[in-house]
């Protein structure tokens, strides 16, 4: 997977504060969100990121974590932080 430049350049603080240096937009992400972002920046697949989330957080067994990761990526697309064609 090619990691988009905008995702590489996104400034991410430990508090979950995100700054897009291209547009000046700011966002906030919770801990699971940060985990997803870190995974995407490492080039992990959705399945790998979901596994990492299951490991790090108390996730109910029935939860569809892959779908949640997909929705987060969709949110990143809508916010212009990854290109429209980007898929993890």
């Amino acid at each position: 997977m090619t990691i988009p430049q905008k995702l590489r350049d996104l400034a991410i603080s430990e508090t979950g504060f995100l700054f897009d240096p291209y547009t000046g937009s700011t966002f906030s992400a919770n801990e699971p969100g940060l985990t997803v972002l870190e995974g995407l920046r490492e080039g992990l697949s959705v399945a790998d990121i979901a596994a990492r989330l299951r490991e790090a957080f108390d996730v109910p067994a029935a939860a569809d974590v892959e779908r949640d990761v997909g929705e987060f990526v969709h949110l990143l697309r809508r916010s212009g932080l990854v290109p429209e064609e980007f898929t993890a």
Binding site: A11, F19, P21, Y22, T23, G24, S25
Partner: protein, 357 residues
């Protein structure tokens, strides 16, 4: 070896809710670690707030409006120069720039430096010539029509889609949704700024403003792009953040290369929803928010003062992305004697120390 201190005259002290750039320019000059000179404020109204900022201006003089004629303006500048000799002048208001361009040779004879475009360039960047400017610099511009008669607005049906913008020759923009609003906006703009008036298609997207300086030979001395984060009801930026986008920098460089612009300017552009950059206008002077350039580590007003003094300035590339400005309104407490001095004698001296060279 450090350079000799400069006495720098700056205009545009009208730091109101629609602020002139003078106070921002002066704050940037004073913020530079090498600044050891004196600041002379040139004001047009005795209640311009910057007049009373004693920590910013050492001396202030009231000036006649440029509309009162070149002779009156020139005579007053010469008089100010005899009272407090200054090395450099940085004009900051659109309407006075042509006067300072006209006076440049005369000022040079007095030993006063400035760093301004030619009159030809000044005209080229006017809103009326935006499309031509876009062509020569290969930059997208919104569809623009120059309107000299309100009846022209009725001919725009099918050529310019509503809503579009009616813009004044110097300042001001009103969004209009039908021909009645357009005609009303036309008359308001003519009453305030005269003809022509510009009708400009709207571009839906995010506005980006760049404070930049051209070296007059096609190069860019430096540029800091900013995205507004908070607007006043007049649409003026009340907070903003420094950004970095290679496409914006490239567009700015293209502008300077194509025009050989000399001096400071503000490049206003819009990034459309589809991601394209459109040039909206070029303001021929520093914007009011130019202190952000100093705060972000690229002090462009200082660079212009050096260039106006005939000193070399190397192109600047680095600034701190994410640095913000957040404006504040403060009440200055002013002794009556200060107001009396400026209102009755046309001058005010806060400081008798410093090197008036």
């Amino acid at each position: 070896m450090t350079a000799a201190p400069l006495t720098i005259a700056v205009t545009g002290l009208n730091a109101t809710d629609n602020p002139g750039p003078g106070v921002g320019v002066i704050r940037a000059l004073r913020a530079h670690p090498d600044f050891r000179g004196r600041i002379v404020g040139l004001a047009y109204d005795s209640l311009d707030p910057g007049i009373y900022a004693r920590d910013l201006v050492d001396d202030v003089f009231l000036m006649p409006y440029p509309s009162q004629g070149l002779a009156a303006f020139s005579a007053r500048l010469a008089e100010v120069h005899t009272r407090v000799p200054f090395d450099v002048v940085i004009p900051t208001l659109d309407a006075e720039i042509p006067t300072f361009i006209d006076l440049e040779p005369q000022l040079r004879k007095l030993g006063i430096g400035s760093f301004l475009p030619s009159q030809e360039l000044f005209d080229l960047r006017s809103k009326a010539h935006l499309a031509h400017l876009g062509e020569i610099a290969n930059i997208n511009t919104p569809a623009t029509r120059v309107i000299a008669d309100p009846n022209d607005l009725r001919q725009l049906e099918g050529k310019l889609e509503y809503p579009f913008w009616i813009k004044g020759a110097y300042y001001g923009a009103i969004e209009v949704h039908d021909v009645h609003e357009a005609v009303s906006a036309y008359h308001r703009m003519v009453a305030k700024w005269g003809v022509p008036v510009i009708a400009q298609a709207g571009v839906d997207g995010d506005e980006i403003d760049v404070v930049a300086v051209g070296d007059g030979q096609g190069g860019m001395v430096g540029a800091v792009p900013m995205r507004k984060r908070l607007l006043t009801d007049k649409g003026k930026g009340w907070a903003g953040i420094a950004i970095r986008d290679p496409e914006i920098e490239e567009l700015s460089r293209r502008y300077f290369k194509a025009t050989k612009w000399r001096g400071p300017c503000e490049i206003e552009m819009m990034r459309s929803r589809s991601g394209e950059l459109h040039l909206l206008e070029i303001n021929p002077r520093f914007p009011a928010w130019c202190y952000l350039s100093a705060g972000a580590g690229m002090n462009l007003p200082w660079a212009v003062a050096q260039l106006a003094a005939g000193r070399d300035v190397a192109p600047m590339h680095d600034y701190e992305v994410g640095k913000m400005f957040v404006r504040i309104s403060l009440d200055q407490i002013v002794p009556l004697s200060d107001f009396e001095s400026i209102a009755s004698t046309g001058e005010l001296h806060h400081s008798t120390t410093g090197d008036a060279s």
